[in-house]
């Protein structure tokens, strides 16, 4: 059989999980409806894995997020590497205690005697009509908790490579999947492909302005950068890939070169990740900046259902372009 010329985001995730399960007997998956008998996950990311690796290691759970994450934490401190699927990011709100008080802190509170090599996968994202309780981007909440890593991918190959690294990482890692991207196609990764955590990718080189982003907006930003190039603005596009801890060197080196920065994320702009990155740029490069750092994010509102409202909520290409032009003065 020939290797596929393209794979979907879901397939990238499936490949990482399959590879991790095959490579390490300590890896197991748990989550609602993830086994094949229950459909292989609501987004089909785990389809076929229970048939191949057994329902002991790919186990469907009750709808009990505290019990799911708690079980994953407990198994992790014995040296296992659980991958828990929490179907939607908003459902993390019902197991915050396990994540924030336990997964993130047990290494420190035990003086390093125990560690939590746990990966939590969750889907989310606006634009597909799930409304206010299934669409939030809450990455800043978790980035603010010492002891957790937060990762997200902008294409199928990175989804595979980042997820594999997250599973192999010794710290609890939240892996965010944008539900609007599950069907998105991209180049397939080579077998064994991994993306190191904490390393950003420069998606487009440029000299006038640095646009820092991650996840789904990467594609939007690349499209805007293409348009701006036609107008004579050369934008460098950085895909963070790991949100926390983010690749500060990559960001600061680029902004030191361009002197201008725009941060774009899908999360609500207020108190978002963009505020932290903007602050770090100002703290380190204030004297070299040619203009204030700009941020683009979604509006200060719950995610609406009605399509025009949902679009009004989301950041837009026009806003990204306007922010870039504002930095150009």
């Amino acid at each position: 059989m020939n290797a596929p010329t393209k794979i979907s985001f879901s397939q990238g995730i499936n490949m990482a999980l399959d590879e991790a399960l095959a490579a390490d007997p300590n890896v197991f998956l748990l989550g609602e409806d993830i086994a094949d008998a229950q459909g292989g996950g609501v987004f089909k990311a785990t389809l076929g894995l229970s048939a191949k690796h057994g329902t002991d290691r790919v186990r469907s759970t009750p709808i009990s997020e505290q019990a799911i994450v708690g079980a994953a934490v407990g198994a992790a401190i014995t040296g296992m590497r659980p991958v828990a699927e929490i179907m939607f990011m908003n459902f993390l709100t019902v197991c915050m205690d396990q994540l924030v008080n336990h997964a993130a802190k047990l290494r420190f509170m035990s003086g390093g005697l125990t560690s939590v090599p746990l990966t939590i996968r969750c889907g989310t994202g606006a634009g597909v009509g799930f409304g206010g309780q299934h669409s939030d981007m809450l990455e800043a909440w978790f980035a603010h908790v010492p002891g957790m890593k937060v990762v997200t991918a902008s294409n199928p190959a990175d989804a595979k490579g980042l997820l594999l690294s997250a599973i192999e990482d010794d710290d609890p890692t939240l892996f965010i999947e944008n539900v609007a991207m599950y069907a998105a196609q991209g180049a397939p990764p080579e077998p064994g492909y991994k993306v190191p955590l904490g390393k950003a990718a420069i998606r487009r080189a440029g000299g006038d302005v640095t646009i820092i982003t991650y996840g789904r907006p990467v594609g939007e930003v690349e499209a805007v950068a293409e348009t701006l190039a036609a107008e004579g603005i050369s934008a460098e596009v950085i895909d963070l890939r790991t949100i926390a801890p983010f690749d500060e060197a990559a960001v600061l080196n680029s902004v030191a070169k361009t002197g201008r920065a725009v941060i774009v994320h899908e999360a609500v702009k207020a108190f978002g990740v963009g505020a932290e990155i903007s602050s770090r740029i100002h703290e380190e490069l204030f004297g070299q900046l040619k203009s204030p750092v700009k941020r683009v994010g979604s509006k200060y509102s719950p995610v609406p259902f009605s399509p025009p409202l949902e679009q009004a909520f989301l950041y837009s290409r026009a806003e990204i372009a306007a922010a870039v032009k504002a930095t150009m003065g």
């Binding site: 407990g74 198994a75 992790a76 014995t78 296992m80 396990q98 003086g111 010794d170």
Partner: protein, 329 residues
């Protein structure tokens, strides 16, 4: 469903329970006296009155079985065999403590003796205990997990999620409810709709045992039955061990909310002199018991001196054990 195991407990086992009881009882007393004298400073949750149930439970375990307990857990940790010097050093925030002083009294961890997690969040240990038990089930390592909690914990959601999951997966876990009649400052009947905690097991189709936790023989037999069942693949048990929290929620706080007649009844039924009497009735000599007490008092003197003489951790420790790699200074 609710069974009361019968049988006899041999003298050696009962003497071992006595030794652990004395260790708990003297340690608790020493903490309180040093707090009164101002030699140490910490928020202390006394375990006076709950010594025997814990000593009996842990005597029924193997050294490598897992324990999860709560902020009121020093009796459980001691009964499980945690090294006394390291425990005292951790309670006093010293670098020589079990967790290098980073966890403190509410987060004692010592994997060598199976003390895997001590949590300060009511009810949250139960889902984690499931994960420890799941790991044992998957690895077939034969370990049993015990999770201790109070009657107040049975009113929080995590308790219910955990019992349900443990039962559907037949996990080798024992839920040890130490029913000490009060959740913080609220009496059992004012906060708990169930007549008794074991009734809650019925809804989860779970084996349950209600026992006088202050009766060493009955408690040991209940513990042993649950441990044997779990180790032999029979699944979880909820034990409701009746006891009394003799010194209130936090040491030093006003306990006038506890009716005087209840306090008197608890004094009359004090499990520590009761166990002593049981042993004397079995023709164990007072000299033998006194020698055990004296040996523990001597160990305790050494442990307290060790803790008080030990250094505090270096400030640089703040960057270590947060993540798997050191945080940059």
């Amino acid at each position: 469903m609710t069974t009361s195991p019968t049988g006899t407990v041999d003298n050696d086992t009962l003497l071992e329970i006595f030794r652990r009881t004395s260790l708990i009882n003297q340690t608790d007393e020493r903490f309180r006296s040093l707090l009164i004298s101002g030699k140490i400073r910490l928020v202390y949750y006394p375990v006076r009155g709950q010594e025997v149930l814990s000593a009996s439970m842990m005597t029924a375990l193997n050294p490598d079985d897992y324990l999860v307990t709560t902020y009121r857990g020093v009796h459980d940790q001691l009964a499980k065999g945690i090294p006394l010097k390291k425990l005292w050093a951790e309670f006093t925030g010293k670098a020589t403590g079990t967790c290098k002083g980073k966890g403190g009294p509410m987060h004692i961890t010592d994997p060598e003796t199976g003390v895997m997690v001590t949590t300060g969040i009511v009810g949250s240990g139960l889902p984690i205990a499931n994960g420890l038990a799941l790991s044992s089930q998957l690895k077939k390592d034969g370990r049993v997990t015990v999770v201790c909690f109070g009657d107040g914990s049975t009113n929080i959601g995590a308790f219910h999620e955990a019992l349900n999951m443990a039962q559907i997966w037949k996990l080798p876990v024992i839920f040890l409810c130490q029913n000490n009649r009060y959740g913080e400052h609220t009496a059992f009947a004012e906060s708990t709709s169930a007549r008794q905690i074991v009734d809650r097991a019925v809804g989860y189709n779970m084996n349950a045992i209600k026992v006088d936790g202050n009766d060493a023989e009955a408690m040991y037999l209940a513990a042993k039955a649950a441990v044997d069942r779990a180790r032999n693949g029979g699944g979880p048990t909820l034990i409701e061990a009746m006891t009394f929290r003799m010194l209130g929620h936090v040491f030093g706080a006003n306990t006038s909310y506890v009716p005087k007649e209840l306090v008197q009844q608890a004094i009359d039924e004090d499990p520590v002199p009761r166990l002593r009497k049981t042993l004397l009735d079995r023709q164990i000599s007072e000299d033998q018991l006194a020698a055990i007490d004296a040996g523990i008092a001597s160990d305790l003197n050494d442990a307290v001196a060790f803790a008080l003489d030990s250094p505090y951790p270096d400030a640089g420790e703040i960057r270590i054990d947060v993540l798997s790699t050191e945080i940059a200074a």
